[in-house]
């Protein structure tokens, strides 16, 4: 592994972690698609700032881009605030317009702008190590690593400092406002954070894959835990893991690194969706199946208790009869009876006649009283 490979991986991890942190709150605040809107429209900020300073490495580009991100949020809210379009439509109207403007500007000035449209969508993480910082003749590493590191630091600092405010306004906006935390300041401050992060990540992984890094790991983490600190930790871990795995998958198949990172975040989310211990789809299926057989055993004991000692007990309390009476398939009836036998609730006598054990009788009575 060359040092370039190492630097790309380090950058991938830093980008993924920096995105996942604000992503947690985006997911919880149901503003996931704001990241989509912001990550697209920052391109306009970058292009306009570039026309002004004529230098792609100028720090003003980051400022301009982040400002456009916040502007996008304000525009969406203004449009929604007119009451003429709903919020989802407002998002779907604002960012395509700003993004289109940016793409047209790039296309018109393609000759003198080193900003091509592929880079906008794909990012240039593989080329990141070529643009380096040197100070006093010493090589200090890739520039984008420094930029993303700084953004990660800002995110960490902001979340540590305003953890309480963010948490409260996310889970109980009304109480937060009543306690005097300005919802507007918090909202726009947070959106500014998202914008800065999107700008930094944009260079590395492109505008659309930023969304994957911001949304998928926190969403997966949310399926695994109910606690915010744990959710943040899991998001960070899964984001970093997806970034590393994505890098190696891309390496293996010689494919786009950013695309493969995004795909891996999707795979991680899908696994969590299927396999999460409490909230996963499989857990749900298993829980429903267990409840179904539990309920069936209860029905069986109550049915037997009902007819026990009665005149028709010898007819009703046969395994075959369950199919008619409880509308069970013969297969299901056999399984329920076998399970009930194993649990010592019933015993099977000659001719498939079922009889409750004392334990089974008590269980049935208990259920009926409850």
């Amino acid at each position: 592994m060359t040092s370039f490979d190492f630097e790309i991986q380090l950058l991938a991890v830093v980008v993924a972690v920096a995105c996942a942190l604000p992503g947690v709150f985006l997911v919880l605040r149901r503003m996931a698609l704001m990241s989509d809107a912001i990550s697209h429209s920052i391109l306009l900020g970058i292009v306009l700032a570039f026309f002004w300073v004529q230098d792609l490495a100028h720090p003003l580009l980051v400022v301009g881009a982040a400002a456009t991100g916040v502007l996008t949020v304000a525009l969406v809210e203004a449009l929604h605030g007119t009451g003429r379009v709903k919020e989802d439509a407002a998002i779907a109207l604002v960012f395509p317009a700003l993004f289109s403007l940016a793409v047209i500007l790039i296309a018109r000035h393609a000759g003198n702008v080193h900003l091509d449209v592929d880079a906008v969508l794909l990012g240039e993480i593989a080329f990141a190590p070529f643009d380096r910082v040197a100070w006093g003749g010493r090589d200090l590493g890739p520039k984008s690593l420094w930029l993303m590191g700084a953004i990660l630091g800002i995110n960490l600092l902001a979340i540590v400092l305003f953890y309480k405010e963010l948490k409260l306004s996310t889970f109980d906006a009304g109480l937060s406002a009543a306690l005097g935390f300005s919802p507007v300041v918090l909202h726009y401050g947070f959106m500014g954070l998202v914008s800065i992060t999107a700008v930094g990540a944009f260079e590395a992984v492109g505008s659309i894959l930023v969304v994957a890094l911001m949304i998928a790991p926190p969403a997966a983490a949310w399926l695994l835990t109910d606690r915010l600190p744990l959710m943040m930790a899991l998001s960070v871990l899964m984001a970093a893991g997806s970034a590393l795995a994505g890098y190696w998958v891309a390496h293996l198949f010689d494919a786009s690194i950013a695309g493969s990172m995004a795909t891996l975040t999707g795979v991680v989310f899908f696994l969590a969706f299927l396999l999460a211990p409490d909230r996963g789809v499989l857990a749900g299926v298993r829980r429903r199946a267990r409840q179904r057989t539990e309920f069936a055993r209860m029905m069986l004991t109550i049915h037997l208790l009902n007819h026990e000692g009665g005149p028709r007990a010898s007819v009703e309390n046969r395994v075959v009869h369950l199919q008619d009476h409880l509308h069970w398939s013969s297969d299901f009836a056999r399984r329920v009876v076998a399970r009930a036998e194993r649990e010592g609730l019933v015993v099977r006598e000659a001719g498939d006649l079922l009889r409750l054990t004392p334990l089974g009788r008590e269980a049935a009575r208990d259920r009926m009283v409850r």
């Binding site: 709903k86 989802d88 439509a89 109207l93 993004f99 289109s100 793409v103 949304i215 969403a219 989310f269």
Partner: protein, 380 residues
Amino acid sequence: MQVFFLDYTLRTVALGAGALGAVAGAMGCFAVLRRQSLLGDAISHAALPGIGLAFLLTGTRAMPVLVLGAALAGWIGTLFVLAVVRNSRIPEDSALGIVLSVFFGLGLVILTFVQRQPTAAQAGLDTFLFGQAATLLTRDVVMIAGVGAVILLLLVLFWKEFKLLSFDREFGATMGFPMTGIDVFLTSLLVVAIVLGLQTVGVVLMSALVVAPAAAARQWTDSLAVMVVLAGLLGGVAGIMGAIVSATGGGIPTGPTIVLVASVFVLASILLAPRRGLAVAMLRRRRVRREVRADAVLTDLYAMSAQHGDARDHPHSVAALEAMSERRVGVLRSLEELAERGWAAERESGEWVLTPSGRARAREIVFGGARHDGAGEDGS
């Protein structure tokens, strides 16, 4: 315009983009009304891996093949969103965000494979990102028009069901309509309409062509039928204009141009539409404010004249009225307006009185009309 009729390619391209805009606009109405504006975004992004895989598997970039792949992938993406929302605590916006970005990422991975294919036909797949109407062939346009016509026909045939789904799903269910099936059917039509436009407008921006004409049309009418027709027209015009500009303007991708034209339509509609428009609303607000101010001056004048007992026609100065009014501005303007309506008159310079009809109007304001008991009594 002359260029338009003479240039065969341009005519083809414009027709294709126009047909596309019309279909997307009409279908978009349902998406916008059902708050699914962002589903279109997810569908169009999710289609990218389908396009790449269809090309990898068949080796052709014939439009029907790629559209089929795109539709399948878009459909899977939609189902995934539905499955996640229904079976987990993840809200719809996150599910949409995950599908659109992850499928798109997968699509980019597949495109890197495609780009390594030795076949010469690989060139052009990246036009699917932002669209290039100039790559449309006549048979593509025929296909867009044909499939679009089928979609619109189905829209007309199932009009009642789709309308029911959009406005009162529960009522439809109690009437015995299979609402889930209708939902899947309508969403599938949306998927087809979207993937039809990917070559022309591109996966990144196709959703805007679905949302923008519908959002613009919504401002002009409260009738679904009118809205759908209008959105179709606006979408068609946006498509044609965008295609022409991009085909003549040298290297400008079609998608962004069409989207900008459609966005201008939206902005103009929101500002200028006759009843819902912001401009009309602002004028209405200003008129109401002026009327309220004039009413205030009118009642002040009435109150002062009431204090004179018999000498009701005793004039009062503007200065006195200003002293009474809350904000002390615009009193003169309000008086002039009252004079225009014949409710007040200037007796001599700066001295005003109420006319008999002005007095009646003031009583109406103060006592809430003659219907009130004893409201007709004057000078209390």
